[in-house]
Symmetry: none
Subunit: 423 residues, 2 copies
């Protein structure tokens, strides 16, 4: 089993009104199992179009992964189309109907009659249990080719693929394995990162190395092809070590590790706490920190002081300083960090005050100017940053939040590599 066809079903996808992320996610999972995505097809919610692509995919691919069109509405046509393609009828799957009813009962609701269709599966097929939503998935062998169909909701699809589909494919896969690794960096622009690893990024190298950037986080992607997982892992380890040697502590983590997650891990390891005082980021740093499960261990809380009055009332920033220096100033960033630290008794406090735009900039305080403070037992440091006058508000806010988190990360011991923590 080497060649997979991936099918994404939905009129909103075909019309370009929703960007499909399921196809890419599935392709990456398949690659790690030694199965290459040979073709990815998107079709609208139309029975004939869906049926045709299933027939073609089953004829040309070794396995078919499809998502979308399993909802309870009249434009959810995937199960009908799949039955058509297989030349069979749909039949009621009692166990799935029971699970559906239980899903609604658990939420204190009556199951709408329209949801009943979600318990119908093509004769000869199998239901794939859905732990997070109403629609079960479908597994059927079409002209000798296994087809797995899940709902289009990404977290439902991912959970079902990982629990039910991946183990079956892992047993069947036999191609060259592709393993990927991502290194997250913060603190240098993408061109500067590229300059330092240019010789590793040439065409045809194995592992292949490429970069991408989002909100100032430059990600380095490594792709290693090998006969087996161990060999691929070893070649990724070598490449990672070389890149870390060159880039030092701008590398904050690997794969799904996020900057807030790494900061949290470092704080938890040290048994220390942080609090926040946010103006232009409006709560974003707190939201990022608390997106990490278990963050109550190290995040105490903070103040969102968007107005000057809030800075005074919640954090004790003096009105004199606000008037003399302005809300966007080094002095106010310092007073905010120290104010929240004093009130909550945290080991560290981060503060942010700046001009996120698009309006509100002046010649001396342009859009993109942000003061970021870090307070601790050894005092308070405030850094001025200029995130680009032309950048959208969203970019300036995220860069301010990440830069604050990165200041704390470097203070806590920097890089996420096992070797460098605590050195």
């Amino acid at each position: 089993m080497e060649r997979a066809w991936i099918i994404s079903i939905g009129t909103e996808l075909a019309l370009g009104q929703t960007i499909d992320t399921n196809g890419g996610w599935l392709a990456r999972q398949l690659a790690a199992l030694g199965i290459r995505a040979e073709r990815h097809v998107t079709v609208p919610d139309h029975t004939g179009a869906i049926r045709d692509v299933f027939v073609e995919a089953a004829a040309k691919g070794d396995v078919v992964l499809a998502s979308g069109g399993l909802g309870p509405t009249e434009d959810d046509l995937t199960r009908h189309a799949l039955a058509d393609a297989a030349g069979v009828e749909l039949e009621l799957h009692e166990a799935s109907l029971e699970r559906l009813r239980a899903f609604f009962v658990a939420r204190g609701r009556r199951m709408p009659e329209t949801n009943r269709v979600q318990a119908m599966i093509p004769c000869g097929g199998r239901a794939i249990q859905n732990g997070c939503g109403t629609a079960p998935g479908l597994h059927i062998v079409l002209r000798g080719t296994p087809c797995y169909v899940t709902p289009g909701v990404p977290f439902e699809m991912r959970a079902m693929f990982s629990r039910d589909v991946a183990p079956a494919l892992a047993a069947a896969g036999r191609g060259q394995v592709l393993l990927s690794r991502r290194l997250g960096t913060y603190g240098l622009g993408e061109s500067n990162v590229n300059e330092q690893i240019a010789d590793l990024m040439g065409k045809g190298q194995n592992p292949g190395v490429g970069t991408s950037v989002s909100f100032g986080v430059v990600s380095i992607r490594l792709n290693a092809w090998a006969e087996g997982r161990a060999e691929a892992e070893a070649s990724l380890d070598d490449a990672e070590a070389e890149i870390r040697r060159r880039l030092g502590d701008i590398v904050f983590g690997r794969d799904d590790e996020t900057l807030p997650g790494v900061v949290g891990r470092l704080l938890a390891q040290r048994g220390e706490t942080v609090s926040t005082a946010e103006s232009c980021t409006g709560g974003l740093i707190g939201a990022l920190l608390t997106d990490v499960p278990g963050s109550s261990q190290y995040f105490l809380g903070g103040a969102v002081t968007y107005s000057n009055e809030a800075k005074t009332r919640l954090l004790g920033v003096s009105q004199d300083v606000l008037e003399a220096r302005g809300a966007v100033s080094e002095s106010v960033a310092q007073a905010m960090a120290e104010g929240v630290s004093r009130r909550l008794g945290s080991d560290y406090a981060l503060s942010v005050t700046g001009v996120a735009g698009p309006a509100g900039g002046t010649s001396t305080k342009p859009v993109g100017l942000v003061y970021i403070g870090l307070s601790s037992s050894t005092g308070t440091v405030v850094e001025p940053w200029l995130f680009g006058e032309d950048s959208p508000r969203e970019v300036i806010r995220h860069r301010a939040a990440y830069t604050a988190l990165n200041m704390l990360r470097r203070r806590l011991g920097g890089s996420a590599s096992e070797g460098s923590v605590g050195k």
Copy 2:
């Protein structure tokens, strides 16, 4: 010319390492020209795979739009594959070669010999000029079907499509125009929304009506096909009015309007202010509110009180209540909202305290239990919500934040339709 096939070419796309945005963009442009994207196919940089999909697309579609694989490197194979599909040779296009050389001269560089291949086009084809990069595009009629191929770099592709391809398609197009509209709703599940508009969602209706859901926001998408824009707009207006009549004030906005944006607009119209007291959402409501430009007009700030001590120190929640009722309780939600409102003097205050999980749930206070408070001059209302024990932390947090914003929206006068505001 009514049915288009869209082809995206690139191994990084097929492997899911880069998310394709070209396909969606092209589908939207085509729809506005009266051409439907019938199928969207992604294939890796492999001559046979690319050739096969061109042959299939030319046989089944009325027009083919492709992007990617026109670079100067060895894995850029689209022009060879297209010549294969047409059964012709590649030939040097002198004018394109001149343009290529001039491109490099203008940048003070000599053209690398490898770039010469970019001036090769299939016999019988035409070069499409590229104003922004090196690779010209290709236009060829394959078995009677016009095929347009551009580089994969989005801004090059978009410029070439708009300047060269769109005018040709507009002249040839004879299909109907598609205009789309989205209505955002909050407060009912997708199945319940569907039940109320099921008769509008039938297959083949015009406008077509479909729904999708993200973090509890159920979006209703209307697609109207018509001979002209005015007619399409009128039919969208009629459908929107009917849906609003049925769903009432769960409809919060249209097209790009967001729940935080609508709340902001209503507050600004009334000259009123809001503050926030967030526990399990950790600053997310503040971050959502301040994502809207101009939010300083109505958002004063708030407290992120993740720990019990923060609830006491920043908001004055009594330790007795915290001990007697627990942090996740109606009493604490009420004290949080009233505490922040008193401190900041806002007209409204929202509070959230709950169990976001995955750990921390108990039999009486399970994961997903969230108390949401809304305080105003007329008193404080607290609602208990249960967002689903199996839902990921991210979903519970977003649903809690949106539910809080929606409570405030309904309080402020509800729906975003011109007609219903203030009624």
